[in-house]
């Protein structure tokens, strides 16, 4: 088989080429390490407990926004309560669970400066941490279900202080999982509760966001909800956003490498077409891999600066998935052509078993992704993990890391092929 590029190079030229690629790689590492900030920023936001005028029954929403810091930092539609479990609050007839709204206005201001989200920050993830006090009379019963009536809205810089626009409202269920050590079973100590997923936003297109969250209780004659969840003192929402600087560095690298790789690909294919024989399977696979890589590199993120694209999280998952599929297929065929035995198959059809395994795996991931992030396009509060099965799966997934699994799986698969072949 006559070669295309590398086969014709002399040893010295090959060394130069390899060291050039190595240098490029080191440069990229240095840029990532020295210039870019940490990929994401975390902020703990403690909810303001608002007492509101009208009690709402479970599953219903009002049209008001309860805003902790409105005009001149004064609350709007909200009488902040410091401690909802103080004796005064308990004695006060007006303070009832259905009149309490936990309000989270993000991002928090710093040094008299109102911070706002930038479109460079790409996406926003919110997780919920609930602080439950230990009380002998009000224990947490097993793994209770938390029922949240939650609204998410946004405001732009030029909007008036009280104008929030609804993104989503929903009634969500979450399984609480809280523990306390025996020696800490003293009134006033806190349970140790697991994090609960709250929302995921695929685009951070606006400046300010507001979450209004309620834990309603049912009237006495109806089926009880939010019961046995202990005595809640505070709710913290942890918001994670991608750092603007990280996006800038990352997208610039993509922008630089995208045309380079496209150019290389065109040149490579041109060289192959010049050969007197049809392209070999491996060469076709190399082209596929290049296309998948370019798809991954395409700096689509620039569009998010002008257009709202809530499907970016899903899209980047799909792009990465396609790349992994192409990479795995490439390695499978590479091993098949060079390692397994001396037979040269040269056709995709002879690899159908292996390739369909890869395809099946990727299809499963895609379906799963559509179920989670696809649904999140409609309802950002949706989470597939809140069912009991989902929680267990998540636990497993969290412990074992999907990517590593895939790698180990494919390595075993190849080994099996070599042994049997």
């Amino acid at each position: 088989m006559s070669g295309t590029i590398l086969e014709n190079l002399s040893g010295r030229k090959l060394a130069v080429l390899v060291s050039f690629i190595l240098l490029c790689q080191i440069a990229c590492f240095l840029i990532g390490g020295c210039i870019a900030p940490a990929p994401s920023n975390v902020e703990n936001v403690l909810g303001t407990k608002c007492l509101v005028d009208t009690a709402l029954s479970p599953g219903t929403f009002d049209d008001h926004w309860h805003i902790p810091r409105g005009h001149d930092r004064r609350p709007i539609n909200c009488h902040p309560i410091n401690n909802i479990n103080s004796p005064e609050a308990i004695k006060d007839e007006r303070v009832t669970p259905n009149k309490i709204v936990f309000a989270f206005q993000i991002p928090n201001p710093k040094v008299n400066e109102v911070l706002d989200y930038s479109r460079w920050m790409q996406n926003l993830i919110g997780v919920l941490h609930i602080e439950v006090l230990y009380k002998e009379n009000i224990p947490i019963a097993g793994k209770p279900i938390l029922s949240l009536d939650v609204k998410l809205g946004y405001r732009n810089k030029w909007d008036p202080d009280d104008k929030y626009t609804l993104i989503a409202k929903s009634t969500e269920k979450r399984y609480m999982s809280c523990e306390i050590e025996d020696k800490r079973k003293i009134e006033g100590y806190q349970y140790d509760c697991d994090l609960l997923p709250l929302f995921e936003l695929g685009s951070l297109h606006h400046d300010f966001y507001l979450i209004n969250l309620r834990l309603p209780v049912a009237e006495s004659n109806k089926e009880p909800i939010n019961e046995g969840i202990g005595q809640i003192e505070d709710i913290i929402v942890v918001v994670i956003n991608q750092n603007g600087g990280f996006t800038k560095v990352w997208v610039s690298l993509k922008t630089v490498f995208f045309p380079v790789i496209i150019g290389l690909m065109i040149w490579f294919w041109h060289r192959i077409l010049l050969l007197p024989r049809p392209p070999a399977l491996l060469e076709k696979m190399l082209l596929t891999l290049g296309i998948a890589l370019s798809l991954l590199n395409l700096p689509l993120e620039f569009l998010t600066l002008w257009v709202e694209m809530p499907f970016m999280l899903l899209l980047s998952d799909i792009r990465q998935g396609l790349f992994y599929a192409a990479l795995l297929s490439f390695w499978l065929i590479f091993c098949g052509e060079h390692l397994m035995d001396d037979v040269t198959r040269g056709r995709v059809r002879s690899y159908w078993k292996h390739l369909s395994a890869v395809g099946f795996g990727c299809l499963c991931l895609f379906i799963f992704d559509m179920c989670e992030r696809g649904v999140q396009l409609k309802n950002p509060f949706y989470s597939i993990w809140v069912t009991d099965l989902g929680t267990n799966l998540a636990y497993l997934g969290g412990r074992t890391d999907l990517g590593k699994n895939l790698a180990v799986f494919s390595a075993l698969f190849i080994k099996y092929e070599i042994d049997s072949g």
């Binding site: 940490a38 975390v42 928090n108 969840i229």
Partner: protein, 286 residues
């Protein structure tokens, strides 16, 4: 302060209110074991409160600092986000408490050290929490942060530090710490890193002694609760508080009205019946 009294409820010294006046007359306070605890808990409380208030968003002066953020093109927040609130809490605590210790004597050093222990305890009790958000929610990308502990836990930890506190003494401005003699100029870095330190021995807290800030143990309540989860201090409290101070334990039976058969929601609303209960109370009496 409530936390301090909770921690010392079964000790002879019960964290009286006047112990917290150290802001007015820092020089006149003795530098004993109890004051070491007070210094540490105040410092810890400032860090804790400031950090929490910053995350509430109502406090106006919370800072972002840009350290460790890779500051090229530093438009702070947009580029690299904002730092932890705890760091700011520590700064406030330092600025507020440590500037009060203007003296260059051992006492000032000891107080500074104890303030520092308070801050360290807050940091060491924090818990690291991670969230995975990679492809399809895998842990390919993971973000971690520190969560502030419950202040009760911080109090427990400080009480342990109090129990293990070490005495240092000094002569002619030279420190005697254990057997070694060290020069005071080397500063608080020579103090044991994990322990509270104090100079003077504590006064006898059995008796009322206003100059030493002791109210005596007469009239104090003690506990005879037994069981596995009852802490040692509580089990020994009657012996420690009353009998060893030459007082007798008097048993009082009280009829207390309390709420029972309560129906609770998760907050602020309780529907209860009123019950009468007999409660045994033990009080030290002359």
């Amino acid at each position: 302060m409530e936390e301090c009294q909770k921690q010392f409820v079964w000790d002879r010294w019960n964290c009286p209110r006047n112990a917290f006046t150290l802001f007015d007359k820092s020089d006149t306070q003795p530098a004993n074991q109890e004051m070491a605890f007070v210094h540490a808990i105040i410092s810890a409380a400032i860090v804790h409160t400031v950090t929490r208030n910053c995350s509430l968003g109502h406090y106006e002066n919370c800072h972002c600092d840009n350290s460790k953020k890779g500051t090229i093109g530093a438009n702070g927040w947009t580029w690299g986000g904002c730092s932890d609130n705890v760091r700011f809490g520590e700064q406030v605590s330092k600025g507020f408490l440590d500037t009060r210790e203007r003296g260059h004597d051992v006492k000032a050093l000891v107080n500074l050290h104890n303030n520092d222990i308070g801050r360290k305890v807050v940091r060491n009790t924090m818990k690291r929490i991670c969230k995975c958000h990679g492809v399809s929610g895998s842990c390919a990308t993971q973000t971690c942060w520190m969560r502030l502990a419950d202040f009760n836990v911080i109090g427990d930890r400080l009480k342990q530090a109090y129990n293990k506190a070490q005495q240092v003494d000094y002569e002619y401005n030279r420190l005697n710490y254990g057997k070694e003699r060290r020069n005071i100029d080397t500063g608080p870095s020579n103090f044991p890193k994990k322990h509270l330190v104090y100079i003077e021995s504590s006064p006898e807290y059995c008796y009322t002694n206003d100059t030493a800030g002791s109210h005596g143990t007469e009239g104090r309540e003690c506990s005879r609760r037994k069981g596995k989860h009852v802490p040692r201090e509580e089990r020994r409290s009657c012996k420690n508080l009353c009998r060893q101070c030459g007082l007798r334990v008097r048993k009082k039976v009280l009829h207390v009205e309390s709420s029972c058969n309560c129906k609770f929601h998760w907050c602020c609303e309780v529907k209860c019946d009123v019950c009468r209960k007999k409660v045994k109370q033990f009080v030290c009496h002359r």
